[in-house]
Symmetry: C4
Subunit: 211 residues, 4 copies
């Protein structure tokens, strides 16, 4: 364990924070059937991320591994999630981003399928829009992109880059798949994630109510 290219104390701290937060999100039912993955920035070249396929409700520190920003495992025999690149592209592009959360809730999945044809979910008129960093009023609107699903991660990552070139954003949906949300810290990423989940749930319900 010598000469590792990252700070092991920093890794231990991040692993503990990821485990605690992942278990809370799992208890909400947002990580069904071992889906979802979670990461934090270690430094300007590495991130800590959940190992593929683990039960998120029983996660332990050993289920967290290190990857570089191309998504490759570092000093570990574990295999990272297929979607690791979608985490690391954000760390590589934005030095201020410290945490990326990918969940797979019922609401996120249904919203992604329902709004995939129009390519985004329009959110307007909610006080909770103020929960997104940089917003100071509810008198604004955001369009959350819904990307097509594909098993070709480099392609998907490229679509995300194109979106990021066009607008500032704190999250996007993938059709039939779930949500990516991020922030400067775990607390901010959690707040953004909760806000997206809440707002999508309101939009779906207003549609059920034919409002």
């Amino acid at each position: 364990m010598e000469n590792l290219p990252f700070d092991t104390a920093r890794l231990a701290a991040c692993a503990a924070e990821i485990v605690a937060n992942t278990r809370e999100l799992s208890a909400l039912g947002w990580t069904p059937a071992t889906s979802s993955n979670f990461s934090m920035r270690l430094d300007d070249r590495h991130a800590a991320i959940t190992v593929s396929g683990r039960d998120k409700g029983r996660l332990v520190a050993e289920d967290i591994m290190v990857v570089d920003f191309r998504g490759q495992p570092v000093a570990t025999p574990h295999r990272p999630s297929a979607e690791t690149l979608l985490h690391t592209q954000l760390y590589a592009r934005y030095p201020e981003i410290g945490c990326v959360l990918h969940t797979h809730s019922h609401v996120q999945t249904v919203a992604s399928r329902l709004y995939a044809p129009q390519g985004h979910v329009h959110l307007e008129g909610y006080e909770l829009l103020k929960a997104f960093h940089g917003n100071h009023t509810h008198e604004m609107a955001i369009d959350v992109p819904v990307l097509a699903n594909t098993q070709d991660m480099p392609e998907l990552a490229e679509w995300v880059e194109t979106l990021l070139d066009q607008q500032p954003m704190w999250g996007y949906l993938i059709d039939g798949h779930g949500l990516y949300a991020w922030g400067r810290t775990m607390a901010e990423a959690r707040r953004h994630l909760e806000a997206f989940e809440f707002l999508f749930a309101c939009e779906l319900d207003l549609r059920r109510l034919n409002a």
Copy 2:
């Protein structure tokens, strides 16, 4: 900490009660993304209220501050919620009110958006109408006001004053924002809050069922 214009033992007791109740409400999912705020009367000039922007599921006593009835911080560097005035106007107007709870549940938010055009939610035919202090039968009806949302708090407070001039009431909705409910004690405010949430949820569901 000398010569404070309020009773610190009373503040400590209120802070403990606010923290315990806020955590329970947060566990129900009624305070998403650091939203919502909660207060109790300290005396005839001061109230204890949650500091702005704190995670309500992890609230501690240090997250409670003191304000006067104009909504200004007292003996603290903390910033109160932007909506503090909506709490303190109630304490200033009604000496018997001891607790104000502002939550932001899914049901409250959806109901506020759905009924904003007609300006109120009509509740009738429910046994639980007896849960509101002063009601002794289900054979009555109430109209819960739905106010437009605005970031101009003095204006919003003025609309509330006008409503209070017209009718006795234990709560109101703000469009896209959530519920204010109050009572003489924390227990009564909680009971009113639970009754509003339950009755709004029933109304929404009957509408989904086209009843």
Copy 3:
């Protein structure tokens, strides 16, 4: 506390069982805003029942009182629930009944309002119909009565007697109010209560789905 007309050890055992079960039902959200009441038979003349207006999520043994089968308090200054007669009429009529549970869930309240015009909820085609004591197949149907709501308890009790004269049954709804369910033991009453809640929820959802 001498010469009480009931067995105090039996009361203590029933109170403990009522408290434990009521807290579980409260945690499910079936007792909003201090609503609902719960009882067990003590002997052939007395029942233990929850005191009116208590928070069911914080119930303690002191919140349980004794009533006779006319619904009158025995050896206690406490006031029983207004609906006590709906419990005691069952103990008086059926020596085998040991427990009566009255809850006020969202599903029960919405179902009661939706089906009040036709006077019953028809349940058919569910395996869970076997959960009701005496049923050994799903190839049957039951009509759960929905009574009008009234604050006149003797009148409501008389309606129930008329229903009981007509058919065997393990529960009924009151419009806008909730469910009464019962059984020979607490465990059986809980099983019947859970089965009614589950089956009403399925019926409502099939209607939402236009099935």
Copy 4:
């Protein structure tokens, strides 16, 4: 307890695993009113299974009994669930299957009634289809069979055999009754069960949303 035809240490380990997992499933509300049953393979002739009629939220090791693959009790006076044959037919047919879970959730019951006329639930376009063992992409579809309900277990078991002759599958629904799901281990059976529940819930909701 001598000369038992199975390994008692293996039984104790399986009973502990069944109890822990059943309590978790019960806490999700998937085992209402003492319904549902759960089993694990002991060896090539025996399985451990829940005794009929027990409250799944309070299950203990003594509520687990042994049956042979014809569904008959072995070295126990307990009565197994009427549906035991639906468990043991899978162990008898597939040596690699180690666990069978039968639950009775709201979503499973409603889906079974809604899709019974067409005989299956079609699942397509979901990332979570990858949760089923053997699937490596979301670009596929599965039809989950919905069987008619009957109290004639040998007949029901025969229908299942016919289905298993036609296609590989990890679960099926019974009309008005619930889901059978299985896997090589308890963890895999749980993952399959969670995936079915999640995907059925999405399908129902998309239908509510008229999507």
